[in-house]
């Protein structure tokens, strides 16, 4: 297995994000933020690349986001660091894009920061009834979504394998899986509501 020693932060790996943030809030030592942010460098680089489509600009943008995060965290308390960081990164990239296209840079409206997706107890307690509904609902998806969802989730194929088997592009596969999953959730919720009414 290839390893990337510089990607990890070594001795601090066992400390959760929230603890690192609390350490920072208690002594205002930026080194804690350095350790925390290093965990997200790759993700930030990727998000910046997605929006800016230029490697040098993306690297500059990541550095600017680091500075912004360090400044902002000195001003106020953040509860859900990962979600907040993602929002800061996206807003910063969009602001740069606006600026690049000759418009007045403006902060996007602040979006509510969602709590990290918690383990939904209902999902853990998925009853036989819900699983029955799911089996039925998969049949109601359109053929492309049905095929991709089945191959990906039930037959555990990778995107590439699904793409090879169906002839869809990787992007199409991803889109069919995401939309299929969303539609499936809607269908099940609808059926559960109907069951309660009956």
């Amino acid at each position: 297995m290839v390893s990337f020693p510089f990607v990890n932060t070594g001795k601090y790996d066992h400390i959760p994000d929230q603890q690192l943030l609390e350490n920072f809030y208690s002594d205002h030592d930026n080194e804690w933020l350095g350790i925390l942010l290093q965990r997200y460098t790759l993700l930030l680089l990727g998000v910046c690349m997605k929006y800016l489509k230029n490697e040098d600009e993306a690297k500059d943008c990541v550095q600017q986001i680091f500075l912004k995060v360090i400044q902002e965290l000195h001003k106020y308390k953040v509860d859900y660091f990962k979600s907040w960081l993602y929002m800061v990164a996206k807003n910063h990239c969009l602001m740069k894009l606006r600026y690049k296209h000759g418009k007045i840079p403006a902060e996007l409206e602040s979006q509510p920061i969602a709590a990290p997706e918690e383990t939904d107890k209902k999902e853990l307690e998925q009853t036989d009834h819900v699983l029955d509904l799911m089996e039925d609902s998969i049949q109601e998806l359109n053929p492309e979504q049905q095929q991709c969802v089945t191959l990906f989730y039930l037959q555990k194929k990778s995107y590439q394998q699904v793409s090879d088997m169906t002839g869809f592009s990787m992007l199409q596969v991803k889109s069919y899986i995401q939309n299929g999953k969303r539609n499936l959730k809607i269908l099940i919720e609808k059926k559960l509501k109907n069951n309660i009414k009956q």
């Binding site: 930026n30 080194e31 089996e135 990906f152």
Partner: protein, 121 residues
């Protein structure tokens, strides 16, 4: 098969470490491992967006190096400020000691002068 249905609506543990993401990006994982990463990506918007962007980097082998450079720069920034603050604290303390020393010295000199003046009278 029926158990696998649970994966569709599950949001359990969607965190993916950077090393695994890099290996996925460089196509160095088995199909099974790829599937596991993709299952998590489907529930992790941040990582999914990032992966979309990272795929646009031409030389995938350079990604780890780019991350390393960014991390080094970040470390410099966060450590420099700490060092500066420590230096400032030391400087502040040396000024404090100097001020106390001068005040004590002035008090002693004043005492000696006043004492001598009073003796002369």
């Amino acid at each position: 098969m029926r158990e696998d249905l649970k994966n569709i609506l599950s949001n359990l543990n969607t965190d993916i470490d950077q090393e695994t993401l890099l290996l996925y990006l460089q196509d160095k994982l088995s199909e099974e491992q790829k599937h596991e990463v993709e299952k998590k990506l489907a529930n992790n918007e941040f990582a999914d967006d990032a992966m979309e962007g990272l795929k646009e980097i031409k030389d995938k082998q350079q990604v780890a190096y780019m991350v390393e450079m960014l991390n080094r720069d970040l470390k410099k920034k966060t450590e420099k400020k700490k060092q500066r603050r420590q230096n400032l604290q030391l400087k502040d303390q040396s000024w404090l000691y100097m001020a106390i020393f001068i005040i004590v010295l002035l008090i002693i000199i004043s005492y000696i002068i006043i004492h001598k003046m009073l003796k002369d009278q």
